[in-house]
Point group: C2
């Protein structure tokens, strides 16, 4: 049975990396000894080793060993044989580029659908949807496709931001951008605020954390989903 945690962010303001999620992760990853970490999104251009160290530090608090997928001779086998998988945040374009370059999109999708526990934060959450078309990231590399895992039947907008009242900035609000997306595409989009995450168990997807989430569907008014409810599309 599919088992995923899809989080808006790794870090909430004023706390350390993954801190707010650790109690949840302790239960979620119960029995897991070694987690395979996918560091491809490289936040701030950090090295794969440097990023993996940060993740190891957080997971050592719940007695889980972390190994970067780049440390394995065969990346595909590493994914196939993983007890559990975590894809960290950073730049979604570079993450997706590397998933294609390493040819592991299909394998990743398969093992997640078969029940390998999966954690994603930010860019690592964006890739769980149908496409990466609702990322906020800058297109700093050109990936061979925007199509992603499709392990959930909608797209994620991580770090969802409400319009800032009284702002004098003329750049588009997040809501405007997602509405533009729906001029060209049908796939629903869930705006996940920082501190929120989705808990996926098989086909059931439940919103968790301290905030509501904003669901955008083509030709429908956006709706707020309260924490604790199942995400139900029209």
């Amino acid at each position: 049975m599919k088992k995923m945690i899809i989080a808006s962010t790794s870090t909430v303001y004023g706390s350390s990396y993954l801190e707010y999620l650790l109690p949840t992760l302790k239960t979620f990853f119960k029995g897991v000894h070694t987690l395979v970490f996918i560091p491809f999104a490289r936040p701030g251009g950090v090295s794969y080793d440097g990023y993996t160290e940060v993740v190891q530090k957080a997971f050592s608090k719940i007695d889980i060993n972390v190994k970067g997928v780049h440390e394995y001779n065969n990346v595909n086998d590493a994914i196939l044989n993983a007890e559990a998988i975590f894809t960290g945040g950073g730049n979604t374009f570079e993450l997706v580029n590397q998933l294609y370059k390493n040819d592991i999109i299909d394998t990743l999708k398969k093992v997640i659908n078969n029940g390998t526990p999966y954690l994603g934060t930010s860019a690592g959450s964006n890739i769980c949807g149908i496409s990466m078309m609702n990322t906020n990231d800058m297109p700093i590399v050109y990936p061979p496709s925007f199509v992603t895992l499709g392990c959930i039947p909608f797209n994620i907008n991580a770090h969802y931001l409400d319009p800032i009242e009284g702002s004098k900035h003329m750049g588009e609000t997040r809501e405007t951008r997602i509405k533009e997306y729906h001029v060209f595409n049908e796939v629903p989009v869930l705006g996940l605020r920082e501190g929120s995450w989705l808990s996926v168990e098989g086909n059931s997807i439940t919103l968790k954390g301290e905030h509501s989430a904003r669901l955008f569907q083509q030709n429908l008014k956006p709706v707020e989903l309260e924490s604790g409810v199942e995400v139900a599309l029209r």
Copy 2:
């Protein structure tokens, strides 16, 4: 001689469409009767006709007639024969997608380099650089390439925003995103604040408007360029 105005935004807070630029445009487009407008970026998903109407309304104040490039039977000929060209803002991914679909990238580049006066705002400015890799827009469509006109020797980040002091949001700042870009790319990036524009005359590129601009070059500290100075790369 190349003659371009490359503006961060069409509209500054509290004034109407293009209003702040009209005195400049009156001189810049002196002698032009009909401007060819490229509406492909479709802000908010507006129709080509609807967008062209907005632009016509602004340009009628300086007695210039506007015709949307989509109104011509042959888009390529429309660009080739244009007295002057304006590409408006909206979504850069869709704009670039349509430039490729209509196969006018090379023609547009040629006529601009040969001296057809060109105005770009926002997405219409992003395409003047080497690539669209520093857009802030959401990747709502997948264009065949991120390579753009290359009429200036660096990329534009339109609507440049300084980090918001005291923000609790954990999404990346604009500066962080541009620094990530320079992990993977060498092309310099100019962060143009709303209300600023570049005036291009041949190979001379001068910053105009009320703000300084922030120049990012790989492996160098970002620098502030004052309004009125020529943009000089290292």
